[in-house]
């Protein structure tokens, strides 16, 4: 049994401390130590994007980040998207546009789509497809996801 390391970090704006082994991924610690099960384990090797979280303002695959690396960092997960019980417009547009079937990839798509719209409020279809390329979906065929992101962009612009 390897010795545990103490890590202090911020998750969705709240200070969090945990103990972990060096070999544990951020995804593992988020789900198992912190009970934040929104980020999903898909491929566990950085291909599918189901585990996407924001790390210091940029989207990362949390399955290929070591939990010990996030000492002092700021993490945002899909749990931080909805505010006081109200869904974020991106979440609402995914629901209304039926941009999901099994839903395993959805948290990752939501986090990456939010990162894209924060950076580029008016993305073209190409921008959306290019920036969401690290998120795989085996159900929808992507068209509904792209349309949901376009709808969310339009709604966010009217605010």
């Amino acid at each position: 049994m390897s010795k545990k390391i103490h890590v202090s970090t911020t998750v969705n704006g709240e200070s969090v401390e945990f103990l972990c082994e060096a070999r544990q991924s951020l995804l593992e610690v988020l789900r198992e130590n912190l009970s934040l099960t929104g980020a999903k384990e898909g491929c566990n090797n950085g291909n599918c994007g189901a585990c996407t979280v924001m790390l210091n303002g940029v989207p990362v695959n949390s399955c290929i980040v070591l939990a010990v690396e996030v000492e002092g960092a700021a993490i945002e997960t899909v749990e931080g998207l909805a505010c006081h019980g109200h869904l974020h417009p991106i979440q609402k547009c995914f629901l209304e546009g039926a941009a999901l079937q099994c839903g395993v990839c959805t948290p990752g798509f939501l986090v990456t789509a939010k990162a894209l719209l924060d950076k580029n409020p008016n993305p073209s279809e190409h921008d959306i497809r290019f920036n969401l390329a690290n998120n795989l979906c085996r159900c929808t065929g992507y068209d509904k996801i792209v349309k949901a992101v376009q709808a969310a962009a339009a709604e966010l612009q009217t605010r």
Binding site: S2, I5, E21, A22, R23, Q24, S25, N44, N45, G46, G49, T52, L55, V58, P59, V60, N61, I64, V65, L66, V68, E69, E71, T112, A115, R129, F130, N131, A133, N134, N135
Partner: protein, 290 residues
């Protein structure tokens, strides 16, 4: 993943000492997009993982038109293509950084890590060679410079010795009438490994019609990334025309020794070297003309 010890040194000397004196196998962790996958899949082993992202030199990104670019070995790819001046001065590098994996990978993966992983298909390596980058290697016996084309020695292997780490990649200042480009062939739009790739850099004479200097590099077509020395030397003094670019492509083919695998046949890859060399030279010349 098997257990290992973890250290996050804050200086080059500390990192080098940890790597030199580790019990068993020490591995350097930058963005982790190769290493952590390899450890999980037991393709590589580690008793100690040395996270180098808290060493200031490895996170440096500084550029001036006079001094050129100093790129810390663990600076993530997105910081390159989001830097307007760097992207304009070294377009081949920015083009490669933008297609290393997807966005989540580019948030973590570094050019230095791409080089140290030493895959024959590493996307950023052809631009490093074409742009004449030099690698600063720090170790127990001091610091040495290694030309980008000398860094990789076989698939997955490079010149780093025990206790050494890549600290900085140094790019010469951009030439006044210079331009560069990188292109790879993949059967999809994004998120794939190159079947073949080429990076080209050119400097034109003041007329804009003649090539003064050029460097061509090709990847995914040999056990290591290759500098196409003969093609590069031949280009100097030649008119910047499609015919010249095509001829340089033929010369670049001579240093390709690809394998046939699921991504493509030997014959197809050699053909691609000609096409991609020609295209990247044309694009580099167009950029050099402004």
């Amino acid at each position: 993943m098997k257990s290992f010890d973890y250290a996050a040194p804050t200086s080059l000397a500390e990192a080098s000492a940890l790597l030199a004196h580790a019990n068993g196998q020490a591995r350097i962790l930058a963005g982790g997009t190769d290493l952590l996958v390899q450890l999980r899949e037991h393709l590589r082993e580690a008793d100690l993982v040395v996270d180098v992202k808290r060493i200031p030199e490895l996170m440096e990104l500084s550029f001036t038109p006079e001094q050129g670019l100093r790129l810390g070995a663990s600076v993530p790819c997105y910081r390159i293509y989001e830097h307007a001046e760097v992207s304009a001065a070294y377009p081949a590098l920015a083009e490669a950084a933008r297609i290393v994996g997807g966005w989540q990978i580019q948030s973590r993966a570094s050019v230095g890590g791409n080089l140290c992983n030493s895959s024959p298909a590493g996307d950023t390596i052809a631009p490093l060679i074409a742009l004449g980058a030099s690698c600063t290697v720090v170790g127990p016996e001091g610091t040495r410079q290694v030309a980008a084309e000398e860094f990789c020695v076989s698939p997955g292997k490079n010149v780093l010795r025990r206790g050494e780490l890549l600290s900085t990649i140094v790019f010469p200042p951009p030439a006044k009438s210079g331009g560069s480009a990188y292109e790879r062939f993949i059967p999809r739009n994004e998120m794939d490994i190159a079947v073949a790739a080429a990076g080209s850099w050119v400097e034109l004479d003041p007329s804009g019609k003649t090539i003064k200097n050029a460097r061509v590099a090709i990847t995914a077509v040999a056990p290591t990334p290759r500098f196409a020395a003969e093609a590069s030397q031949w280009l100097a003094g030649k008119p910047a025309t499609e015919e010249t670019f095509a001829q340089a492509g033929e010369l670049a083919k001579k240093v390709a020794s690809p394998i046939t695998d699921m991504r493509g046949t030997q014959e197809f890859r050699v053909h691609l070297v000609g096409v991609l060399t020609k295209r990247t030279l044309a694009k580099a010349v167009e950029r050099a003309r402004g």
